[in-house]
Amino acid sequence: MSVLVGLPIALPLGTALLALLFPRPSTARRFGVVAVLAFQLGFSVWLLETVMRQGPLVLALGGWAVPYGIVLVADTLSAIMLGLSSLTALACVLYGFAESLREHEHPLRVPLLLLLVAGIHLAFLTGDLFTLFVAFEVFLLASYGLMTLQMVATRTRRALPYVTINLVGSTLFLAACAFAYGLFGTLNLSEIAVRSAELVGDVRLDLLALLFFLVFGLKAGVFPLYYWLPVSYPALPTPVAAFFAGMLTKVGVYVLIRMFGTVLPAELGWLHGLVAWVAGLTMVIGVLGAVGQSRMRTILSYHIVSQVGYMVLAVGLFSPFSFAAAIFYVVHHIVVKASLFLVGGVVLRIHGTDRLDARGGLWTAAPILSIAFLLQALSLAGIPPLSGFWGKFLVIREGLSQGQWTLVLLSLVASVLTLVSMLKIWFGVFWSKQPEGVPLRLTPSSRRMTAAVCLLVLVSLGIGLGAERVFEVAEHAANETLDRAGYVQAVRAVNQGLKGGEGP
């Protein structure tokens, strides 16, 4: 059964290649892609249920024994992330199909998105540091392609910060892989977990952990390495922007959870403190950037930075409860942020601009869209009983119980400012009057786009109302992530199933 662990990578990869073989956008092609993504979503849910019941599933690729070969590990955290990425991809693809006519669809968009999904899934599943590097490169290259596909001439310069910062990040990651190999003599994450525990107090381990934080923090967009994000994301086509906004920075957060939780020893207290403080600054600086902006999608992009701060803060607080809070926050944030970007796309379609001061009147013209936005915006700001409230509540509760008053205060300030900038969008785009003589472009396609948004809104409502159940799953995932011995044991156990040897 463990061979099924490879499916979330093989499935989008194979579909991408098939889509390249049939490049002409047709109804059958669209149907096939949606069917594959829906199946993948179902599979991820099944996988989550299975690994929660049976413990992690491990696949040794090519039948190589553990420290020598590459392993894929599906534990609860990975399965959660797989499900979220499948859901976001499905919603974004549906939205994209509703947004553009078949004739206008670029033949490369769907294959590139599927390659991106395959790369992200490899990053979630791999149990090997260098494969993680390769996975990052796979999805980064696909994201570069998606970013510049069909970009109009006035926007191409906006891709430059994203590409350059990620190039530097990848180079640093490669160097970090090399240092890790030099220090531990292995690239297998479970073996690194064993050997790094023996090196506690060694300055080389401290430096390496710091380098990891730099690399993955850069991908997650933490202060002061976030400036590329609000420049590039608003320039993307909406379905791509929504997927990026939902998933890409969260891959960085996932790797931070995995690295600090499972791989690096728990004794790196000074670094956890640093992580928490960097996160505190990220929350406030990101939201301050958002307050000063006058475009809907730019505001939303700054909020990604701010919200990543909450998740990284939960990682930095470093306790089983705070890890559960971080995982819950990731679940909430991916769904809400993706749907807010999709709402921004519908607004852009109806108004032709997403400037806050130029247009208005959507509250009367498109009430369903307005309600969808209001629900998600209030959720982002943390109003009960929506999902964002529980995420913030859990993080702040852990901060209070650890006596981190300043950080809690920072997160409350960020929360209030989030509400302020969300209300700014609400009054600018939805509530204010539409100027005379400017027609709203309400078309059947904008209604279909709203329907795709509603899919995510319903999931988000479900997370908020069923918060207790979601938190149980997050807690299970957090305990499993922090259980280094269990992880190592599960990975090593794969050797017994291999032909002709037990390994070392």
Partner: protein, 127 residues
């Protein structure tokens, strides 16, 4: 250990020069900077293969002491890294050329000036 000093110095020089070039305003220098930076990282990987002075290639046969051979794993890693670095460099070249064609400039400050007040986010291609 000291035999690795020359590698360390080389990496320092390459990375330092690369950062200097990357911070330049001109596109071409940026591109060259990234190429140098990825080479610096590749050298770091190579250095992890062990002391290259006097060590053998990692082909083992009768009568060869494994302790005198270099570690083959980083060499496999570096091959992957070179291929990835090459493809990314190719992408960056095309992107910089596209920006040059689209905006008619090959330096970053002028790029900002050409953009002027417009942030290019309005009313994009709606499909």
């Amino acid at each position: 250990m000291t035999a690795q000093l020359d590698t360390a110095l080389l990496v320092t020089v390459l990375a330092g020069g690369a950062i200097y070039l990357c911070l330049s305003r001109r596109f071409l220098r940026k591109l060259l900077g990234f190429l140098m930076l990825s080479n610096a990282a590749n050298l770091v990987v190579l250095a992890m293969a062990g002391d290259p002075t006097g060590a053998r290639a990692p082909t083992l046969h009768e009568g060869v002491d494994p302790a005198t051979a270099v570690d083959p794993v980083p060499q496999a890693l570096i091959l992957t890294a070179i291929v990835i670095g090459f493809s990314v460099a190719a992408y960056l070249t095309v992107l910089l050329y596209r920006i040059y064609v689209d905006s008619g400039t090959a330096t970053t400050p002028r790029l900002e000036r050409i953009a002027g007040g417009s942030d290019g986010l309005d009313d994009g291609v709606i499909r």
